[in-house]
Symmetry: D2
Subunit: 353 residues, 4 copies
């Protein structure tokens, strides 16, 4: 019963098979191989436009390098105050950008809006030398609250950012879960809505260590190969990144994996929501369930060996947060989650009285 | 016939089996898993002393992060003028160290000596504020010329460095090939000879993407976990780094792989050396053969589909370099090289008249 | 009628005389001269303890270099959300610290408290690798609202910081105005209250371009000479920094200058406070008056040639901010302000009906 | 008898008078004042073309910031191996450029040539991701050997740099001495010869602390105001930088100062050259004399209280360096040097037998 994170899971059988197939023979190094080329082609096809894609090994690298490509060292990047890029990457964006400033903005359900951005941007006078210069907006799809931006919400932020001369970055660590939940096309919630560069996650959803930085604003990709190399993110045996991504994308395997993870979360969320004394902090839209449960249930779950994280967030709804002897927990499902475990968790919480 | 580099090879069967075994079930993320712990234990046992080890995905990351742990931003790092860290990593050490200076020193066969270091260090006045401050010496074992430092040579450099208050780093991208060639213990050519931190390579020798930064000077490791995270080198599914390293080290598998690669290079070197009009630029001590061959042979090899790199180095012996209509080429063998390909290369060169 | 900032003023006669006296003859370069040594001695005497002081040319350099000495690149520095270091230095602290994160904390009258810091620090788990590591707290004395921390307030913050293993930095761009207003000793509101390093401002208060970074935690000063040189802040003709600081400090000249500036601000503040339709946003404790005046008065002042800045701050008291057709303005006096100009401003505002 | 450096001198009377005149009254801060505007205008007139100029306080800041504007963090800057930017600035260019690499090139008399640059550039393959990317060439006028580039020499380097897509930077810490010696126009040895950005020194030649970064390639100046602010080099009382530069430039005062310094050096050089057992290491072309004198003379000079530095340089002519019991010394004259001191030095050396 491991709900600590989707990165606690292993590899999908399809991805594993691709790694095995790629393990023999020789291939050009540093991404000049056929699999890497194929991966970049498939990413272009997925988004239905001209893109430039770069494979890296972690989400932190994808985000930090992508942001570094969008901001000068004296730039400001606006993101939600609970965003992974500012809270959970040990300053990687600051390092790779040579000192840009991440500005956290409050917002319900982990989201930014043109209004909250506008109130923050009011302080910035274009060209005022003493200030950092607004360079980019970064949104997480799905958010750190497990919620989703609708296309119109993204488009509104994209329009706002571009009107202010800023680029729009999307942290898509769980982009697969987001698209599987929203339906529609990957294009609609990225470049068609104004996203200039996307951190396209794959690791949490069944690969070994593979993320793609996908540029829709091709000009911003001009020097990215140097940034990636200099960051130690250009694998010598690049074929293995290519193999993971190709297997992940072909036959919409990535969406099948995410659809399962989402379904498991929905099952868990509905089961918990039906219990008295349990509340769901934010709508369950992907593969994360944020539940406020009685401390007794928390203790029972842990006693039963369930793994998950107690949680906190600055945008937690007050009414939900209220109530003594309760705890907010985050339960994350994955492509590998099993219905039996889900039901067992629900039963343990029900019984813990 | 791929001799472009040992990183053109794939995975050893043993490493692949370990990845398959690790692919199922759940495990704690970010290196808190049992396989990662086991890998760190095995590295400590290998070197027979207390060590702190950190797994990363590339040699560039291992070198740049290790060096960053040894120098302040205003420090100077002394290395051979042909060293990989200064010539082939796109400035990664400068970035991760926040601007330290790599100082290239000339030397035969890609090596540094206390004498060449001394002549360079003469310019540095301890504490003189206008100068960068000597912080570390970095040597490559094996060198970029495919040659090896003997224990006494390393110890002499280690003593020199420590007497000057500098740390000693070893770039061991091909450490396995070096130890397999030299024999003896890993300890003798590292910490017992004064090495403070080692970039322990595994990728070129049969793993997917796995290197270890091994600290013998434990104090220098104090903040390394933050450096690694911030660099985007802390894999969420860390178990897969652990699995590679454990399989690589257990039963001396790594030395068996390297021994084969070295033997293939020796076979190739001896075969070519026996031919008129062919010269070996530097002694073949590991799995790299640097040969000066007639241009006709070079053309014939390429026509036959052989892959390898034309080469150049500032420390190329003048007499060898001389001679018109000849070219210096680097032929690299690996754990996967086959004797048949070796013999075919020799035959093509012999026949190319 | 220039109230734009105290840095719009020129030089005190005493400081000018010192520069003239220093302008002849030769002297050792880079701070090895007698005047610089004398300045460092006087700073030590002023604070009544062992200190290490370094002269630089700007407050931005003093703050950014001081903070860089207190934090690793992966560190977090906590300051008020309106602090000059995070709002008005174009990311200098981020650059000189190689990417540390400035965390803005809300607080009334531009102040931090142990309580507001505690609520922010709750999110930080000691040693948690994914987070930046709390390294320092920075407070401005006087604050960006022109208010002052009392000794007890500083001591409480100092105790909080040290208990959390953080250092305490004080941005003393207007330290002279603060001490002149509070009275007592410089020691009481710095090292005796837990301040580890002080940016001791002099430029705004009558010098040409001279600030001192004063270390009370001597260990933190160990490498500062390299940081200053590397930042281009080690003047070759260092004697001129020494001359300014010596003249500034001798005979308590600096406090005399600040006392005048404060008195002019008090005169202005009282005059304006006596008018209907005018409110003072924050208590006038140094040489800055923040007044909410009718737009008609604002127009009249500007028409009369008065120079000052319209202002905004996130910690503006709501009741004060309220009211249509009014504007918040900042009026800054200096050592050179004249009572006549003050009274003229008051008269213009009174008449603007 | 202070010949340690021209920065051991004080202020020219003209510059001092300008500072006194600027010391009263109020002026807009941060370079928005009339004197700063006037200085920028005069610099444009001096070079007879459209320029963008930025005043800073030190040569290290001017060089490091100028270079940072010409290179990406993964760039390579080629300079003489004895260049001040790589030997004497404690890594400032590396810091401000976020990690660019300075590549030292050997050359006689402290000079680069297209030939020596070509031999170094051979190793660089355009676009090869593993290498740093050639971004700029930096030459010192005058050189660190006190020698001068003629217009044709500069033009040849400029053409080489531009053909390779690199910018050309000139470190003009002693540009005044160079132009005073060469005659002709400032334009001829800068932009007309391909210089894209010049560090225009004034401090060594009679100002307090004032250098200008002069951009001839205007596009490279686009973001410089942010770089300067972020570096803590934007003085709040900017008028004092403007005042120094205006006084320095008006009526060709700067050339008059340099002409005197050069004449004093010529007098010293000729006097010493006439003595047996004394050799001049490099032609005396500006205000620096590099002499190989008997150790007895060296001792006698120091006993007499003469201040100067023993010297070393990698490009010292072997024949000159040879000879036991001799020492290479650097004697620097300035606008303030007096003939009597010059003659006294010569006499002491003559008598020291």
């Amino acid at each position: 019963m491991d709900f600590a994170s989707d990165n606690a899971s292993g590899l999908s059988e399809v991805v594993l098979a691709a790694l095995i197939a790629a393990s023999r023979g020789s291939a050009p190094a540093y991404g000049a191989d056929a699999l890497t080329q194929r991966a970049e082609t498939l990413l272009g096809e997925l988004f239905g436009c001209e893109t430039r894609s770069f494979l890296v090994t972690t989400g932190t690298a994808a985000n930090a390098l992508a942001l570094a490509a969008l901001t000068p060292p004296w730039g400001a990047i606006f993101c939600h105050e609970d965003a992974h890029i500012t809270e959970d990457e040990c300053g990687a964006p600051e390092m790779f950008s040579a000192g840009a400033k991440l500005v956290g903005v409050a917002g319900e359900q982990g989201k930014l809006t043109p209004q909250t951005l506008e109130s923050e941007l009011q302080r910035y006078v274009p060209g005022l030398v003493k200030q950092t210069q607004p360079a980019a907006v970064s949104i997480s799809q799905a958010t750190e609250c497990g919620t989703l931006y609708r296309r119109a919400e993204i488009a509104a932020i994209g329009k706002f950012a571009h009107n202010r001369g800023m680029s729009l970055h999307m942290d898509g660590a769980r982009f697969a879960n987001a698209l599987a939940s929203l339906g529609g096309s990957a294009a609609d919630i990225t470049w068609r809505a104004g996203v200039d560069v996307l951190s396209f996650g794959a690791t949490k959803n069944g690969t070994l260590a593979c993320e793609a930085v996908v540029f829709f604003d091709l000009a911003k990709a001009e020097h990215f190969a140097f940034r990636r190399k200099r960051a130690g993110q250009t694998l010598s045996k690049g074929r293995f990144l290519g193999a993971q991504m190709v297997a992940y994308l072909e036959n919409a395997h990535w969406l099948a994996l995410a659809t399962h993870a989402n379904a498991m979360a929905e099952r868990l969320s509905k089961g918990l929501a039906g219990l008295s004394d349990v509340a769901i902090a934010w709508p369950t839209e992907i593969n994360e369930v944020f539940a406020i449960v009685p401390s007794a249930a928390d203790r029972a779950l842990k006693a039963a060996g369930a793994r998950y994280h107690d949680w906190s967030a600055r945008c937690l709804p007050a009414p939900v947060a209220a109530g003594e002897d309760k705890v907010l927990v985050r339960l994350v499902t994955s492509f590998a989650s099993e219905a039996g475990d889900i039901d067992r968790v629900i039963e343990i919480v029900r019984s813990a009285r």
